[in-house]
């Protein structure tokens, strides 16, 4: 029996192993949902949500993996990214509604760029002023980053007020593609494509460059990287800034996805983001993507099949995966 289980495990490993999980979930959902058109719509929505969650979670995962820093204030970058991009889009309303996809795209690019720039600068400030004094002290990290999250939320309230803010979408991303009886919302397809491009870029940086090699090594054994002559603390500032910028971009994309945002947006998403990071395995970009896609798909499938279970579905998924693999699906350290 053990030999059979081992052989099956090896065969599954060669076929892709845990990477096949989203396919398994999608296949099971296909049978349960029954209607192919609904299944396609839900799958695209799940993939788009997964990609946006990946953007928000990737930085958090790398920061925890590299410096063992628990940053509960990460949600602030998501919220600010969403509000800053919404404000830029509102300011460029003329370009957004123009009958030119070039102007539409420029408005969207400006909004995303503003969010990314904010993320970079705020990330540098956050790391230098708030995180650095509490390195290697988890309790203080939790307290101070939760405090920073509250301050950030209140700052958003002071600047933008408590009324939900409506987010404009560019003309060319409005509407849906209708293929047969399948309807695919254009913005969701766009979010998936943009997330995929960012993942590929991040993957190439981590796996094809020297700085990526240093980050991967630092996630595994920070002390040894320093003993080889590299200042991990300086590398960490860069990683923190990158992670914050990605979170802000994720927030900006989420704002367009929801079209109505409140200052609590970041805090609400953080629970899901933490689940993604834990499921994927700390410090692993591939694991974070896998976790994000799984959470995105499960949220949409369960929301359709058993709406009352929708809130609990991610928790159940996390518990099931941790019982099976306590270090997550693809942990960075073996």
């Amino acid at each position: 029996m053990n030999a059979l289980t081992e052989t099956l495990g090896q065969k599954l490993g060669r076929a892709g192993g845990v990477n096949l999980l989203p396919l398994v979930v999608a296949a099971v959902a296909f049978v349960l949902i029954g209607a192919p058109s609904s299944w396609v719509t839900l799958t695209v929505a799940g993939l788009a949500m997964g990609m946006m969650l990946f953007l928000m979670a990737s930085g958090l995962s790398l920061v925890f993996g590299l410096m063992d820093v628990l940053n509960f204030g990460h949600s602030a970058f998501v919220s600010f990214g969403a509000f800053i991009s919404a404000t830029v889009l509102a300011g460029l309303g003329g370009w957004l509604t123009a009958d030119s996809w070039v102007l539409n795209s420029l408005a969207l690019a400006a909004a995303y760029l503003a969010a990314i720039c904010f993320g970079l600068v705020a990330g540098w400030f956050f790391e230098t002023v708030i995180i650095k004094p509490v390195y290697r002290d988890h309790l203080r990290q939790i307290l101070i980053t939760i405090g920073a999250m509250i301050v950030a939320e209140q700052t958003i309230l002071a600047f933008w007020g408590g009324t939900p803010l409506s987010v404009a979408r560019p003309n060319f991303l409005e509407g849906s593609w209708i293929i047969g009886d399948v309807s695919i919302e254009i913005y969701r397809a766009f979010a998936f494509a943009l997330g995929a491009v960012v993942f590929i870029m991040l993957y190439l940086v981590l796996n094809r460059t020297r700085i990526g090699l240093l980050i991967r090594a630092g996630v595994e054994n920070r002390e040894m990287v320093e003993a080889l002559g590299f200042r991990v603390d300086r590398l960490f500032v860069g990683v923190f800034m990158l992670g914050s910028a990605l979170a802000a971009l994720g927030g900006a994309m989420w704002a367009g996805y929801e079209t109505l945002i409140t200052p609590a947006l970041g805090g609400q998403l953080m629970i899901v983001v933490f689940i993604v990071v834990i499921i994927g395995g700390l410090g692993s970009i591939e694991g974070t993507l896998l976790g994000a896609i799984l959470v995105g798909l499960m949220t949409n499938y369960i929301g359709f099949l058993a709406p009352k279970l929708a809130l609990a579905s991610n928790m159940i998924l996390m518990v099931a995966i941790l019982l099976w693999r306590p270090n997550g699906l693809r942990p960075a350290v073996k």
Binding site: R210, L213, R216, E223, E226, A227, L228, A332, V333, K334
Partner: protein, 234 residues
């Protein structure tokens, strides 16, 4: 000529005083061996030299320069390599990636790489394999190879024979002899036979203090001293 000089080094780890008073000089060239019982403070001495734990008070002089308060990375850049007891291998990186990470330029010097492959043929055979899949001996080879992928003045090696098969230990001794022709090695070792075959000078650490220092030849000849300091036959 003295390459490394440790003066009255005291190191605490948390609330525990591990090193009380360590002083010894490592001459340039050859293998200097640090001996001592389990828990005597040998590993703490190497980590304190590398800046991973900060001694206070006391000083570490490398080529005459005080490096006590320097950051670990800056100490490494001065030409000191470290092979820790747990080998410090990056398991998810390939063998070649582990090696290239230890170069300052990010490129291999073909002559040095060829020398490493001649010393440790397994590293050439498995160069694209992830390091976690290597055997214990191969991981130790990779850890040592990483220390010599570029010219260094001093290599700190912590218990390299621990848990290795006798044939690998012999291969490791041969490699160390060759490395010691061009680089000074400060070796922490509990395997006295292995240490004696390599060391020219030595010191024994006992309870966080240097209990004896001198030539390995004299120490090897004094079995009473060995019994007292290392409990080899006690």
């Amino acid at each position: 000529m003295t390459l490394l000089s440790i003066r009255n080094m005291k190191t605490d780890i948390g609330q525990y005083a591990v090193l009380h008073d360590i002083s010894f000089d490592v001459p340039e060239g050859g293998v200097f061996v640090l001996l001592g019982r389990n828990g005597a403070g040998k590993t703490t001495t190497l980590r304190s030299i590398m800046g991973l734990w900060k001694p206070s008070p006391g000083s570490v002089l490398f080529k005459g320069e005080d490096i006590t308060s320097h950051h670990t990375a800056d100490i490494a850049r001065k030409g000191i390599a470290y092979v820790p007891e747990n080998m410090g291998i990056f398991g998810t990186l390939t063998v070649d990636e582990n090696l290239i990470l230890a170069t300052t330029s990010g490129r291999f010097d073909p002559a040095r790489l060829a020398r490493i492959h001649a010393l440790f043929p397994a590293l050439e055979q498995f160069r694209d394999k992830q390091a976690w899949s290597l055997s214990g001996g191969q991981k130790q080879m990779l850890s040592v190879a990483r220390a010599i992928i570029e010219p260094r003045a001093l290599i700190l090696i912590d218990e390299p024979t621990k848990g290795l098969a006798p044939s690998i230990v012999d291969a490791m001794a041969g490699a160390f002899r060759e490395i010691a022709q061009t680089t000074t090695i400060l070796l922490v070792e509990q395997n006295f036979t292995f240490a004696r075959s390599l060391g020219r000078d030595m010191a024994v650490i006992d309870d966080g203090r240097v209990a004896h220092s001198g030539s390995m030849e004299d120490f090897a000849a004094d079995t009473a001293l060995q019994d007292r300091l290392l409990s080899l036959s006690a």
